[in-house]
């Protein structure tokens, strides 16, 4: 994971649920995330996977990732080439799952970001710079425990490194 990332924004609305991220009708068939990733956001934006260039961002409104516990949601976003998800707020299970699989999630004011805006995300400084508008957006800091898991690449890497939880 690169602490400084840049790419184009793909903007979605409020309450984007995990069924929209990857529909239930696909997720039971396969654990091949590359194969499933062509269906990312299919129900609300058909053909979305073709718009993505590697390193792009998904930008949501409030309560991004609400709904099910499916870890396919962050994995499919990763497999589609998205480098991070930015949103006003996140649903709890999705937020944890992103950290666990090493997908950066940035809680910040996304209201002024438009489709196609060029963003720079600096995880170290906790800021998002919108190159298109010049706006600098401050991110809500992650809890320390999540910073630790994310900086080690995810929970699998954390476990491999420490032989179990080493968070307290």
């Amino acid at each position: 994971m690169n602490p400084i990332m840049d790419g184009k924004a793909h903007v979605f609305g409020n309450n984007i649920n995990t069924d929209y991220i990857i529909s239930g009708k696909y997720k039971f068939k396969s654990t091949d995330m590359k194969e499933l990733s062509v269906h990312l956001m299919e129900d609300i934006r058909p053909g979305f996977h073709r718009e993505i260039e590697p390193g792009n961002f998904i930008v949501g409104g409030t309560n991004f990732g609400m709904g099910s516990s499916r870890e396919q949601a962050p994995l499919v976003i990763q497999a589609a080439g998205i480098s991070a998800v930015l949103a006003q707020s996140f649903a709890r299970i999705f937020f944890r799952n992103c950290i666990n699989v090493g997908l950066p999630v940035i809680e910040c004011d996304t209201s002024q970001i438009s489709e196609g805006d060029e963003l720079v995300v600096d995880l170290g400084k906790g800021v998002v710079i919108n190159r298109t508008t010049g706006q600098e957006i401050k991110a809500v800091p992650l809890p320390q425990v999540m910073v630790k898991i994310l900086s080690e690449g995810g929970l699998a890497q954390h476990f491999q490194k420490h032989g179990g939880f080493n968070l307290e």
Partner: protein
């Protein structure tokens, strides 16, 4: 001082912990289903797992996509069976029922426990005073290996529902009302504690409907305290001693909601969000094509009974398809013995194997373009049942049953007064 969530987490870590603290706590029971187990197995290996630490604390349930409609699904089911056999863990295979009905019914989840499930509706066991919550596959795998999980001790919202429900108004209506009040993210990262005469009057099954919907407010848990009904429910299901956990008198709540629901009628969640709730009169008369009674929300015995009371001796409207999926084999057998199942079938129901049925769009009743579905499930998102061009409304089993007869959304109080 502490809320139920704070008290349960404190009991598990051996010191008093309060909202906002991060704890690594032992987990008492774990569950994953066919949508999440294959990734749990993958994560288990990625985390370096060899053996499930305590196989007696884990169950795998094949309930979401059963019997398998496709070879890809069949192969994942096979992988789950092999993992269960190799690790010596309990597997509930096809036909046993829905995970959230099976765990309480088999006495696996008990008051005061911490339970995690790789399924968001794991909040259901809150009705039994269990701190239970949904997690992803990697968290599940970490808990299988270590027996633990990290938690942020949640703040709690206290809800008190007073009064007495009208005839024709059920736990599901209370639950939908609760989601509408709190909204889809009103309780994110928080636990709900639900009290009041309305909760006291409900059966354990009814309370499970409410705790089930807690996650639709973003909540981590939907907790109810233990009373005589809880004790009676657990009698015969377990020999394991358990300790009810109560909030202390001086517990601190983020928010307290007190409401009298005596005047509330049946509720309907309109597409495409669960918090988009209106009184039944607002959508009465809307033509429905398919009615589904079942799921972890409303597929238990008293749900089928409420539907059969209305459908018995009648027949569903000629343009309506009625699908019923009992939530467990036990429910199915009881409904067969008592005659409820015969009433439903004679009324025109197409009965599925005990499972999640068509709730998540995998099989067994995908609606066609432009159709309206009235379902007793917990989610009405666009495409949820497998077709983005269909619309899903959510209601109680009684509203669903009466609407199936009328051919349109209808108020069950018309026949129950």
């Amino acid at each position: 001082m502490g809320t139920i969530a704070e008290e349960i987490l404190s009991n598990h870590v051996g010191k008093k912990v309060r909202a906002g603290e991060i704890v690594v706590a032992p987990v008492d029971y774990m569950m994953s289903q066919d949508g999440t187990t294959p990734l749990t197995i993958k994560a288990f290996h990625d985390l370096g797992g060899q053996k499930v630490l305590d196989p007696s604390k884990y169950a795998i349930v094949i309930d979401h996509n059963v019997p398998s409609p496709l070879e890809g699904v069949s192969n994942l089911h096979k992988q789950m069976r092999e993992f269960a056999r190799k690790q010596g863990v309990k597997i509930f295979d096809i036909g046993e029922g829905v995970c959230h009905t099976l765990l309480p019914e088999s006495g696996r989840v008990l008051p005061g426990m911490i339970v995690i499930g790789a399924d968001s509706h794991t909040t259901t066991y809150g009705a039994l005073n269990v701190f239970s919550t949904g997690v992803g596959s990697t968290d599940m795998a970490a808990a299988l290996i270590s027996g633990k999980m990290w938690f942020k001790v949640p703040q709690s919202i206290k809800i008190v529902y007073e009064g007495e429900l009208q005839k024709g108004v059920y736990a599901k209506d209370v639950a939908l009302h609760m989601v509408a009040t709190l909204t889809a993210n009103g309780a994110t990262y928080k636990a709900l504690e639900i009290y009041g005469s309305i909760i006291d009057d409900l059966s354990i099954e009814g309370r499970m409907t409410i705790s089930n919907l807690a996650v639709e407010t973003g909540a981590k848990a939907g907790l109810v305290h233990v009373d005589q009904k809880t004790i009676d429910y657990l009698k015969g299901k377990t020999d394991v001693p358990y300790k009810a956990v109560y909030a202390t008198m001086d517990a601190h709540y983020d928010r307290v909601i007190v409401e009298d629901l005596s005047g509330m009628g049946p509720q309907i969640a309109c597409p495409p969000d669960v918090d988009n709730v209106v009184g039944v009169e607002k959508v009465a008369g809307l033509k429905v094509d398919q009615v589904y009674i079942g799921t972890c929300t409303n597929g238990r015995y008293e749900d089928l009974e409420a539907a059969a009371d209305i459908l018995g001796g009648k027949h569903v409207n000629s343009h309506v398809r009625l699908i019923v999926a009992p939530a467990s084999k036990e429910t199915y057998l009881r409904a067969l013995t008592s005659g409820i199942m015969e009433k439903l079938v004679r009324a025109g129901a197409s009965v599925l194997t005990p499972s999640c049925g068509p709730c998540v769009g995998t099989c067994n009743g995908v609606p066609s373009d432009g159709e309206v579905v009235l379902s007793t499930a917990n989610r009405n998102f666009k495409g949820r049942m497998g077709n983005t061009k269909a619309e899903i409304y959510l209601a109680s089993p009684a509203t669903a049953a009466y609407s199936a007869i009328k051919g349109c959304i209808a108020d069950p109080r018309e026949v129950l007064q």
